[in-house]
C-alpha cells in the first residue's frame, strides 16, 4: 500500500515554471501593471508637451483668476468679477438642484404611473402603458430640446403672459412666482418645525413600543401630520405672521420682482422628470407584481382591509425589489442632467466643462474635476440607497 502511495507521490512532478498557474498569474499581473504604467506615462508626457506647445501651464492656478463671463442662473452670489473656481461651484449647485428636484418629482410621478399601470380600470391602465411606451423609447435629449424649443420658447412674451391670479406668470422668460420675504422671528417658526419633526420621531417610537406591549394602536400618521403643520402654524400665528410675498410686476420689457424660474431649468426638469418617471413606473409595476397574490390573500385572511394590506404587507415586500433598480435610475437622472448643455442651462458640464474650459484651455484639470464630481454624486447616491436597501432587505436567519 504505502509503496503505491510513494510511487504516486513521485509521479506528481512540479510543472515547469512557465506552466505553474501561480507564477503565470504573477507574470500576467506584472505585465498588466507595466502596460498600464506605460500608457499613463506616455499619455502624461504627451499631454505635458502638447499643453506647453499651446502655452497652457498645467495646475489649478487658473481657478483663482477672474472669470469675466456671466451665468444665467446662480444659487450663490456670482457675477463676471468672480473667479473660475466660483464658476465651478455655481455649475455644481445648478446640477445639484435640478437633480434633486428631478429625483423627487420623478419618484412621485413614477409611482403614480406605475400604480395606474396596475389599476383594474382598463382605460387608466392603458393610458399609463401608452405613456410609458412612448416616453421611454424616445431619446431624452430630443425630449429636452422639444420642451425647450417647441414648447417653452413658443409661449407668449412677457406682455401677454399666461397668469394664475396676480401671483403666477408663465411666459417665454420662464415662470414667475411670488418671492417670500421673511420678517423678524421667522427663524422661530423654522425651529418649531424641527421640534415637530423630532416630536414625530419620538411619537413613532413610543407608539411602536406601546403596540408591542399592549397591542393598542395609535394613529401616528394623523398625529404626526397635525404636529408637523400645527406647531409651526401656531408659532407663525402667535408671532403675527412674519412672512410676506413680493409679487412679480410687469415692467417696461419684462416682469420684475418675484422669483424667476428660467425656461431652461423648466425644460430640463420637465424632460428629466417625465423620462425617468416612465422607467420608475416600470420598476414599480414589476416590484408590486413580484409580490405574490398569496400575500394579499393571506393579509385578507388575517382580516386586514385594503389600506393596511398595501401598507403593511405588499409595499414593504415590493420595496425590496424596487430599491436596487430605483437607485440606478436616480444615478441615471443625475448623470442625464448634464444634457443641460444642449439647451444652455448652466449646469456643471455647460458652465465649467464648457465655457470655462473654452476660455482657459485647461482641459485636463477641468474634465478631471467634472468627472470627479459625477463620480462623487454617483457614489453618494448609491451609498445612501444601499443603506436604505439594507434597512428594507429581507432579514433571514
Amino acid at each position: 500500500m504505502s509503496d503505491l502511495a510513494e510511487k504516486a507521490d513521485a509521479a506528481i512532478t512540479k510543472p515547469p515554471p512557465w506552466n505553474d498557474p501561480f507564477i503565470r498569474s504573477i507574470f500576467f499581473q506584472i505585465v498588466a501593471i507595466g502596460l498600464l504604467g506605460y500608457f499613463f506615462y506616455s499619455a502624461f508626457e504627451n499631454t505635458l508637451s502638447n499643453m506647453s506647445k499651446s502655452g497652457i501651464s498645467t495646475g489649478f492656478a487658473f481657478l483663482g483668476r477672474e472669470a469675466g463671463f456671466g451665468i444665467l442662473m446662480s444659487l450663490i452670489e456670482y457675477d463676471e468679477t468672480h473667479t473660475y473656481g466660483r464658476t465651478f461651484f455655481v455649475g455644481l449647485l445648478n446640477t445639484a438642484i435640478v437633480a434633486f428636484c428631478g429625483i423627487i418629482l420623478a419618484t412621485i410621478l413614477g409611482f403614480i404611473i406605475g400604480i395606474a399601470r396596475l389599476s383594474n380600470n382598463w382605460l387608466i391602465s392603458k393610458l399609463a402603458g401608452v405613456y410609458i411606451e412612448i416616453v421611454r423609447n424616445v431619446p431624452l435629449l430630443l425630449q429636452i430640446i422639444f420642451w425647450s424649443v417647441a414648447v417653452l420658447q413658443a409661449l407668449p412674451g412677457p406682455r401677454n403672459s399666461m397668469q394664475l391670479g396676480e401671483s403666477f406668470f408663465l411666459n417665454n422668460r420662464g415662470l414667475f412666482l411670488p418671492e417670500p420675504i421673511y420678517g423678524d422671528g421667522f427663524g422661530i417658526v423654522v425651529i418649531a418645525f424641527f421640534i415637530a419633526v423630532a416630536g414625530t420621531i419620538f411619537l413613532k417610537r413610543w407608539a411602536k413600543q406601546r403596540q408591542e406591549q399592549s397591542g393598542d394602536q395609535f394613529p401616528v400618521f394623523y398625529a404626526s401630520i397635525g404636529m408637523l403643520i400645527g406647531l409651526p402654524g401656531l408659532v407663525f400665528l402667535i408671532l403675527g405672521m412674519p412672512l410676506s410675498w413680493e409679487y412679480a410686476k410687469l415692467g417696461r420689457f419684462s416682469l420684475t420682482g418675484g422669483t424667476n424660474i428660467i425656461p431652461e431649468f423648466m425644460a430640463l426638469l420637465l424632460a428629466l422628470t417625465m423620462y425617468t418617471a416612465a422607467f420608475i413606473a416600470e420598476i414599480v409595476r414589476s416590484g408590486i407584481q413580484a409580490v405574490t397574490h398569496g400575500q394579499t390573500e393571506a393579509a385578507r385572511a388575517l382580516g386586514l382591509r385594503n389600506g393596511p394590506t398595501l401598507r403593511l404587507v405588499v409595499i414593504p415586500q415590493a420595496m425590496r425589489v424596487i430599491i436596487p433598480p430605483l437607485t440606478s435610475q436616480y444615478l441615471n437622472l443625475t448623470k442625464n442632467s448634464s444634457l443641460a448643455t444642449a439647451i444652455g442651462y448652466p449646469d456643471l458640464v455647460s458652465v465649467f466643462a464648457g465655457t470655462t474650459l473654452n476660455q482657459t484651455g485647461q482641459a485636463l484639470e477641468i474634465i478631471a474635476m467634472t468627472m470627479a464630481v459625477y463620480l462623487t454624486f454617483s457614489l453618494t447616491i448609491s451609498a445612501i440607497m444601499n443603506w436604505y436597501n439594507k434597512r428594507v432587505a429581507l432579514v433571514e436567519r
Partner: protein, 365 residues
C-alpha cells in the same frame, strides 16, 4: 310516466356577459373607478382629437416648398422635402446608392436573426459582427475599388446615427467580455483594474466622456497624430459602452452554475478553452436580451454626439428647422425624429421581450 325533460339553460344575466359586463368590470366597477374613467376619457378626448386633427386631417401632405403649408395643421411637406438630408446628411447625392446598399444588406442580415428556423443563422450572425462592418466601412469611406472617397465630415443623418450605434455595440462586445472576465478573475491586480475601469465609466455621464474624447484624446497622443472627429467620438462611446456591456455579461457569467466551471476543469480544459467552449456560449445566450436593451439605450444616447458637433439625425433636424425657407416647422421636425427613434427602440424592445420568453427554457429553479 313522463320522461324527465331537461329544460334549456337560461341565458346568463345580461349584466354579466358582453359589452355591458366588460364595461362594468373594467371601467365602472366602483364610484371611484367611474370618476377615473370619466377623467381618463376627457383627457383622451381633449388631447387626442386636436392632436389627430393637427397631425392628419388638417395637415399638409403634398407640395414642393413652404407655400404648400397653410399651418392649420402639421406641415409634413417639410419632412418629405428634407428626408434625404435627414437620412444621408451631407453625403454626396451621387453616392447615395452606397448607403442604400448598406441598408439593404443590414436588413437582409437582421431578418434571418429574427426568424425561428432560418438556415445558417450562426454563420450569418458572425458575418454580421465581422464581415458586415468591413464591407459597410469600405462602402461608406470609399477611396478604393474606384469608389470616390467621402470624408467622415460629410456623413450625417440617420445613417450616421446607425453607424455610431452599430460600431459602439460591436466594438464594445469583445472589450466588455474581457472586462467581465477580468472582473471575475482570480488575479487581484487584474480584477482591481477591471472594477476601476467599469465603475469609472459607469459613474460619469456620456456627455463628459464625449467631451473628454473630443478635447483630451488629442492631448494624450504624440504631437502630429490627428484623429478624425467621428473616430474620437466612437472611441469615447466604445469605452463607455464596454463598461455597461461588461456588467451585462457579468450577470450572465454569474448565472452559470458552478458545476459548469468545475466540469470544464475536470475535462482538463485550460482557462481560455473552458471560457470559450463552455462558459461564454451559455452566458452570452442568456444575456442577449440584456445586450439588446443596452443597444436600445446606446441608440438613444447617440443623439448626444450633436453636442460635440457631429451631424446625427437630431442634429440634421435641428439644422433644418432653423432654415428660413421653412418657418415654424420645429414641432413637425421633432415629432418626426421622435417617431423614427420610437419605431427603432420599440421594435427592439419587443424583440428583446420575445427573446427573453423564448430563452426561458426552464433552467431557473
Amino acid at each position: 310516466m313522463n320522461d324527465f325533460q331537461r329544460s334549456p339553460d337560461l341565458p346568463p344575466p345580461a349584466s354579466t356577459v358582453g359589452v355591458v359586463s366588460w364595461l362594468r368590470t373594467n371601467l365602472f366597477s366602483s364610484p371611484a373607478n367611474t370618476i377615473l374613467t370619466l377623467v381618463g376619457f376627457y383627457l383622451v378626448y381633449s388631447l387626442l382629437v386636436p392632436a389627430l386633427d393637427w397631425a392628419i386631417f388638417s395637415a399638409s401632405w403634398v407640395g414642393e416648398n413652404k407655400d404648400a403649408c397653410d399651418h392649420k395643421g402639421a406641415c409634413w411637406v417639410f419632412i418629405g422635402q428634407r428626408l434625404d438630408f435627414f437620412i444621408y446628411g451631407f453625403y454626396p447625392k451621387a453616392e447615395y446608392w452606397r448607403i442604400n446598399v448598406i441598408f439593404v444588406l443590414l436588413a437582409l442580415l437582421i431578418i434571418p436573426q429574427m426568424m425561428e428556423n432560418a438556415p445558417h443563422k450562426v454563420l450569418l450572425a458572425w458575418f454580421f459582427l465581422i464581415g458586415f462592418p468591413i464591407i459597410a466601412g469600405t462602402l461608406l469611406l470609399g477611396g478604393v475599388f474606384g469608389l470616390p472617397a467621402v470624408t467622415t465630415d460629410k456623413w450625417g443623418g440617420l445613417s450616421l446615427t446607425l453607424v455610431i450605434a452599430f460600431v459602439g455595440i460591436v466594438a464594445a462586445l469583445p472589450i466588455g467580455i474581457l472586462l467581465a472576465l477580468g472582473r471575475r478573475s482570480d488575479m487581484p491586480v487584474i480584477r482591481l483594474l477591471c472594477v476601476a475601469f467599469i465603475e469609472l465609466w459607469r459613474g460619469v455621464p456620456l456627455i463628459s466622456v464625449l467631451f473628454m474624447a473630443s478635447v483630451m484624446l488629442p492631448l494624450f497622443m504624440p504631437e502630429g497624430t490627428n484623429f478624425d472627429k467621428l473616430l474620437r467620438a466612437l472611441i469615447g462611446i466604445t469605452m463607455f459602452q464596454s463598461a455597461y456591456m461588461a456588467e451585462v455579461i457579468r450577470g450572465g457569467l454569474q448565472a452559470i452554475p458552478r458545476g459548469q466551471y468545475e466540469a470544464a476543469a475536470a475535462l482538463g480544459l485550460g482557462y481560455w478553452k473552458s471560457m470559450g467552449l463552455i462558459i461564454l456560449p451559455q452566458a452570452l445566450k442568456i444575456v442577449i436580451p440584456g445586450i439588446v436593451n443596452t443597444f436600445i439605450a446606446l441608440f438613444k444616447d447617440t443623439t448626444l454626439v450633436l453636442i460635440i458637433g457631429l451631424f446625427d439625425v437630431l442634429a440634421t433636424v435641428q439644422a433644418a428647422i432653423v432654415d428660413p425657407d421653412w418657418p415654424e416647422v420645429s414641432t413637425e421636425g421633432f415629432i418626426f425624429t421622435a417617431f423614427v427613434f420610437w419605431v427603432f427602440c420599440f421594435t427592439m424592445s419587443r424583440y428583446s421581450i420575445a427573446l427573453e420568453r423564448k430563452l426561458e427554457t426552464g433552467h431557473k429553479r
